[in-house]
């Protein structure tokens, strides 16, 4: 059964993504919603319940299996050896370059050596892991905000956020490839991949905070939901008092 959104405090009715887009994002993003419609995404959503809860748990399970597969590939990818390192207690430990080795001058610090050498075989595995994780995480956000068969107005913002996030991760990989091959150019005094990480990836969750804020009253927990919740609560208390 498809959940049909009903009253939305002061904003009328949400019947489809267009109305939401108009309410929440204004005209500019409404056009983007129309663009998605033109590409077929909106039509799919209304026609076949694309990304509904019945689909979402399979989607999440599939991304989990994909993550398991990627981790499996990582496990069988050989590490890049560094060599024996003498510890403070005199023992010798064979260390790997893939995840850092003891700094020769500062014992409590690790060093990594050449990024090009240690990431030669793992950089694309890492890229796949990053994308898989973003797909999984945004899938969970959709799962959490879904209502018995529909993600409603959260759908387009979440899809857009997911695509943008994957784009930033991909850009990071390309920036890092240049960096590991010796391009140490900077942006705002930071190496470019680190700058992208700090100014691009770190604040990106704020986008999802805004999405949550915007959809909260109109979809995630409406006034009618509050009313329904109070009914459930009252019925429960009534039943409990009768039991006593």
């Amino acid at each position: 059964m498809c959940y049909t959104p009903r009253h939305v405090s002061g904003n009328g009715f949400i019947q489809n993504n267009h109305f939401f887009a108009k309410d929440v994002w204004g005209k500019g993003v409404l056009s983007f919603a129309e663009l998605l419609d033109a590409m077929g995404v909106g039509q799919i959503s209304r026609g076949t319940k694309f990304m509904n809860t019945h689909f979402i748990h399979w989607y999440i399970f599939a991304t989990l299996l994909a993550l398991c597969t990627i981790y499996g590939i990582a496990f069988i990818t050989p590490e890049v050896p560094w060599g024996d390192v003498v510890q403070e207690d005199g023992t010798t430990v064979n260390q790997s370059m893939s995840h850092g080795y003891q700094h020769p001058d500062f014992p409590k610090m690790d060093k990594a050596g050449s990024g090009a050498v240690r990431h030669e075989k793992t950089i694309w595995v890492g890229w796949a892991l990053g994308l898989g994780f973003v797909l999984f995480w945004t899938g969970l956000l959709a799962f959490g905000t879904s209502r018995d068969g529909n993600i409603g107005p959260a759908k387009i913002p979440l899809i857009v956020g997911c695509v943008l996030f994957m784009g930033i991760i991909t850009a990071l990989i390309f920036f890092y490839r240049a960096f590991m091959n010796g391009d140490h150019s900077t942006f705002l005094s930071l190496p470019r991949p680190l700058a992208l990480m700090i100014f691009g990836i770190w604040p990106f969750p704020l986008y999802f905070v805004i999405v949550y804020y915007k959809i909260f009253d109109s979809w995630h927990f409406t006034d009618e939901d509050q009313h329904r919740f109070e009914e459930i609560l009252a019925n429960r208390r009534h039943a409990t008092s009768e039991d006593h």
Binding site: K111, G144, F179, H184, P205, D225, I232
Partner: protein, 497 residues
């Protein structure tokens, strides 16, 4: 005034003022704590600001102030992925867990996370397993935190020549007494209101320390980058020294793990109104981002200063914050941050004491005897005191290996056990109690096995990240292969909202 000459005295004064504040809150909270719902759930009456600050300060804990800068010192930029994960974790908690667990909490009048889980799965075994996992985690975590608090406190007192030297048990008794006082008298009400202060201190400290760190290295951020590039470019690249796969496993664990931390998600059960969540998320994420600046700034500055030959190498990576504050921060700022350090540790410790007490006096008796204890509020206070004493004794006298083993019942184990059970199970009607029990067993078993057998995962991948993926996959797989469970009318109604 020559502040520099009184650096340690200022630090001790700041900590003393903070302790006094905690005691004051504890006394104030006695009157407001009249029932177990008050003691464990703050009467489900918390406002926006208090909940937001309590959530992020519980999340950050001592790791943010001590471990975090140490990780940057040791591994370069690697641990920045944990910071990014921290902000994403808050989003996940609110999108996936917040609304439904809050509704379960009120409809079923739950006073703990295992209570809510028992209501969702209609299973006392699931309640018992959850409570036991929480209890082990609480003792292990608290032992380490109380020990850390005592070590820092002893260090500051003993660095002041005019004061008599104190030993570790004395330092532990003093710092632990304050924690126990407000946790016993005011329960979680005192906990969350001290968290409010702690959160504000952490935000202010994060911003001020960033400026101090930029000034500490010649050339500011550019100067620090130059030193690190000259020593090891990878350390200032996006993956640090740990490498891409290790970083992403930490990222995964920190992002997903918050949904499984009992001391964090129980805060979601305490809000006054569900509608407040939209404000709480924004406030919590923005505050956390400011507080995380301390982790990043001190870590990078200390690594740059050492590889640049300006500062002597550290004996322990975890000393990064302490040394930076002693040598490069204004004494008043150092005092505020030291108070912030205690605040960070205590904010998590008080929450753990509270969820541990609930497990002992409420959940385990309910699972085993079928009823909760009489005079629950009295026993809640007694259990809080008892857990603190046991944890302190473990911290002082248990072998390091055993302490480390108990420590594995921390973030990673909670994540593997409770993320599937709570984050997925509270949103998916097909999730079964059997799947939840298997997820909890898998998480605890695998994490202990990895620790006991010293299993090394290739490429620096975090063992708990592997455990989390496996427990999630098993949870889905078992639920999908099982007959859909029959839900009670109230559970179904809540899950439809």
């Amino acid at each position: 005034m020559d502040f520099e000459s009184y650096r340690n005295q200022i630090a001790l004064l700041s900590i003393g003022l903070y302790f006094a504040l905690c005691i004051g809150v504890g006394i104030w909270a006695i009157r407001r704590t009249k029932s177990t719902t008050d003691f464990f759930m703050a009467g489900r009456d918390l406002g926006i600001m208090v909940t937001a600050m309590a959530m992020f300060s519980s999340l950050l804990s001592g790791v943010g102030f001590v471990g975090g800068p140490g990780l940057v010192y040791g591994w370069g930029v690697t641990s920045f992925w944990m910071i990014i994960g921290g902000t994403m974790a808050a989003c996940l908690s609110f999108f996936v867990v917040g609304k439904r667990i809050r509704m379960f909490s009120e409809v079923f009048e739950t006073v703990s996370l295992p209570d809510a889980i028992a209501a969702r799965y209609n299973s006392e075994l699931t309640r018992l397993l959850t409570a036991l996992a929480i209890l082990f985690g609480v003792v292990g975590y608290l032992a380490a935190q109380i020990l850390a608090m005592a070590v820092v406190f002893r260090g500051i007192v003993n660095s002041i020549e005019s004061l008599p030297e104190i030993n570790l048990p004395t330092a532990m008794a003093v710092s632990c007494a304050v924690l126990v006082f407000y946790s016993v008298t005011g329960g979680i009400i005192a906990g969350v209101y001290t968290d409010l202060v702690q959160g504000i201190v952490m935000v202010v400290a994060g911003i001020l320390v960033l400026f101090a760190a930029v000034q500490a290295v010649d050339g500011g951020i550019g100067g620090a980058v130059t030193y690190m590039l000259a020593d090891d470019p990878e350390s200032i690249g996006p993956w640090g020294t740990l490498g891409i796969l290790g970083c992403l496993s930490h990222f995964f664990l920190s992002t997903m793990g918050a949904c499984g931390q009992p001391h964090i998600i129980t805060k979601l059960m305490m809000t006054r109104r569900i509608h407040d969540f939209k404000h709480i998320l924004a406030l919590s994420v923005i505050s956390a981002m400011f507080a995380y600046l301390l982790w990043m700034a001190i870590g990078l500055a200390m690594r740059a200063l050492v590889v640049g030959g300006i500062e002597t190498p550290l004996d322990q990576a975890d000393q990064a914050a302490h040394v930076f504050l002693q040598h490069y921060a204004h004494p008043v700022l150092a005092g505020v941050v030291f108070a912030g350090l205690f605040a960070a540790i205590m904010s998590t410790a008080d929450s753990f004491l509270n969820v541990g007490a609930a497990a002992i006096i409420h959940d385990i008796p309910k699972a085993v005897l079928g009823r909760s204890l009489n005079h629950e509020l009295f026993w809640a206070r007694a259990a809080t005191l008892g857990i603190a004493i046991v944890a302190a004794l473990f911290g002082l006298y248990s072998p390091q290996d055993f302490l480390t083993l108990l420590g594995t019942f921390g973030w990673g184990t909670f994540a593997g056990a409770l993320v599937p059970t709570v984050a997925i199970g509270f949103n998916w009607k097909r999730a079964t109690a059997t799947a939840a029990n298997v997820a909890i067993f898998t998480s605890v078993g695998l994490n202990v096995a990895i620790e006991l057998l010293s299993i090394q995962i290739p490429h620096g991948i975090h063992g708990s990240a592997v455990t989390l993926i496996l427990s999630l996959t098993l949870f889905f797989g078992i639920s999908l292969m099982s007959k859909p469970p029959k839900l009670s009318k109230d559970v179904e109604a809540i899950m439809n909202l």
